[in-house]
Amino acid sequence: MMSSRLARFADERFGSNAAVRYFKAKVFPDNWSFYLGEFALYAFALLVGTGIWLTFVYEASPAGAYDSVVALSRAAPIGFLVRQIHHWSAVTFVAAILLHMGRIFFTAAFRKPRELNWVVGILMLVLASLAGFTGYSLPFDALSGTGVRIADSVLLSVPLVGGWAAAVLNGGGFPGPLLLSHLYTFHVYYLPIAIALLLAAHLGMMVYQKHTQFVKDEGHVVGRRFWPDYALRAVAAMFFSFAVIFALAASVEINPIADYGRYHDWTVPNPAVPDWYAAFLDGALRLGPPWEATIAGHPVPALFWPGVVMPLVVFAVVVCWPWIDARFTRDDAAHSVLVEPADAPWRVGAGVALLFAGLVLTLAAADDQQAFALHVPVQGLVNFYRVLLPAGSIAAFFLASLFARELQARARRHGGEPERVVALRRNAEGGYVEEDPQPEREPQTA
């Protein structure tokens, strides 16, 4: 066997069989929600794979970028497919990270000793969004070019250093000769390498600190062996996520740049909406008030508050959440047993309120289309969303908390016990006899 020969080769030189034996027997807790982060990992693998191929055809210059991506679709049908897989993987990547983050949040898996892994995860979410934004900007079509122009304007709005940063990014005014080569360097170099390093830290910390679990046993990991149980499940999850992404890429065209045309600063497709994970920022720009402050004779553009301050405040609160949560719960102890979401109604409320605010901002990014469909003035809808953002989020907090409290009360009424399972056996007379319920299976020690 090839594999046993390889194992012997490595073992004779590194004594690696001890480690292999240890990891094969390592126990992982099992729950469907623990696979969400894995889906992000597999999407990332697909992104790297397809991305490497795309680097061979992409031209990072303002004049050649659009043509090189359009030509890719014309030259070979498979080129179009690779770009579609890449873009769908990116969308899946961010979605899976957000779902994974939701699981971590609502089950309080971020508590001590895992606060740093929460921070690393949030950083990866930000980097993934930036990688997505720089990536869909690379074709520099009319839609994404306009998006870059808006991002450039947001950068310009930063007091003191904004103009300098924008000039460095562009290598001049917008769209500067170095703009695409800078976006490209970030997209294929700094961002993926930073994500890969953080991913290694994320998984390393998870393996070292061991996974959290729902089974109420702080002293032990209760679950399945890595080999073969968990490894096979992971392989199945990986190939399943590949299948989903390929099916999406084959059936739904994403980002049809050939329809948009190349970027000019005087044309834009209407309606103009960014990729879904960036939409909340665009929505914030739409809802932002038309206030231009003046500080010491210098303008602070209206873009600055919704475009820079709002995301930074949200980022700071989310990054600090493990410590904020510990302060609220007055709980500084280390935990490896997860909280049933309903057992912490206020946390459910806080999470749902944040999700609701994000949803309102995302919806606001398409307010013109909604106003058109509903035959209402856009400005009326903008005002509605301006009220809904704070009022709805507070209402969402209380409604979600109440809902969680109700679930908690119901669980308590049932005594928190699982339903009794009985085995019925047919006897010789044709009737049924109830057998003793199976004795609870005592988990074996690994």
Binding site: L81, V158, A166, D265, D282, P290
Partner: protein, 270 residues
């Protein structure tokens, strides 16, 4: 039988995967529709997922296992003893300052890039003829009343930030600001097309209400009142281009825009 089923299923699924991959390769070789290649590949992945899943089910241990969690911390003894370097005092702090100084040095090349841009002007200049995107020069009656077209300075079609909306109004509708009385000959009024909010093209003209509308963030500007913002997030009017008619009857600019074009920034003079 019970043991054989997962194994049989696994084998069948893997065979299906190989077939689907071969099919995808053949489809690619025949330059088939990318959707066919994609679906065949998706089918292959799904088959492997089924194979691994079936095998996992067949091999799964019947019971959960338990593995002791090792203590993560704090270690014993918890506090590290102060040594020659970490003991409190100037010695340790000076190391911090010295290393910090190198950090400042590393910033120097980045700060050196921070040349402030001179206030940007556009390619519009006095006497520049207005041409459309195809380079055709426009006369005072080239645009019908109620119409709009995007114009550029002659010889600079598409140059950054030159895009201008030329709108033809009925004479007397415009309410010119002080000092702008003669800027719109024969009802031809010209405003920058670059939104003062985030730099998008203000691409939509609602001629019934004389409003310009930006499709990016829905700022609305009043064409009759110096393109002042009337709703949406924009805070500044679209800069106006003063127009004139040259001796040959063509529309020309009297100079660059009235104000800097595009979104605001800290260093922009106010």
């Amino acid at each position: 039988m019970g043991d054989d089923l997962p194994r049989t299923l696994t084998r069948a699924a893997l065979a299906c995967a190989v077939t689907a991959v071969l099919g995808a390769v053949a489809a690619a070789a025949l330059r088939a529709d990318p959707a066919i290649i994609g679906w065949l590949a998706a089918l292959a992945f799904l088959a492997v997922a089924v194979a691994a899943g079936a095998l996992a089910r067949g091999l799964a241990a019947p019971n959960d296992l338990r593995e002791a969690r090792h203590r993560l911390g704090p270690s014993h003894p918890a506090p590290l003893p102060a040594d020659a370097i970490t003991r409190p005092g100037m010695f340790g702090r000076m190391w911090g300052y010295a290393l910090g100084a190198f950090g400042v040095l590393a910033l120097v090349p980045f700060v050196a890039l921070a040349r402030r841009q001179a206030p940007r002007g556009t390619a519009w200049s006095a006497g520049a003829r207005l041409v459309d995107a195809d380079g055709r020069a426009l006369k005072a009656d080239s645009v019908d009343v109620g119409g709009v077209t995007t114009v550029f300075p002659e010889g600079n079609v598409g140059a950054p930030e030159t895009a201008t909306l030329l709108i033809r109004l009925d004479d007397g509708l415009l309410r010119p600001q002080p000092g702008r009385a003669g800027w719109a000959p024969a009802g031809n009024v010209a405003y920058s097309k670059i939104c003062t909010h985030a730099g998008c093209p203000v691409a939509i003209y609602r001629h019934a209400s004389y409003q310009l509308y930006c499709p990016c963030h829905q700022s609305v500007f009043d064409v009759l009142d110096a393109a002042q913002p009337i709703s949406g997030p924009a805070t500044r009017a679209l800069p106006q281009l003063a127009l004139d008619v040259d001796s040959a009857g063509y529309l020309v600019a009297r100079g660059d825009f009235s104000e800097p074009v595009g979104p605001d920034e800290w260093w922009r003079p106010v």
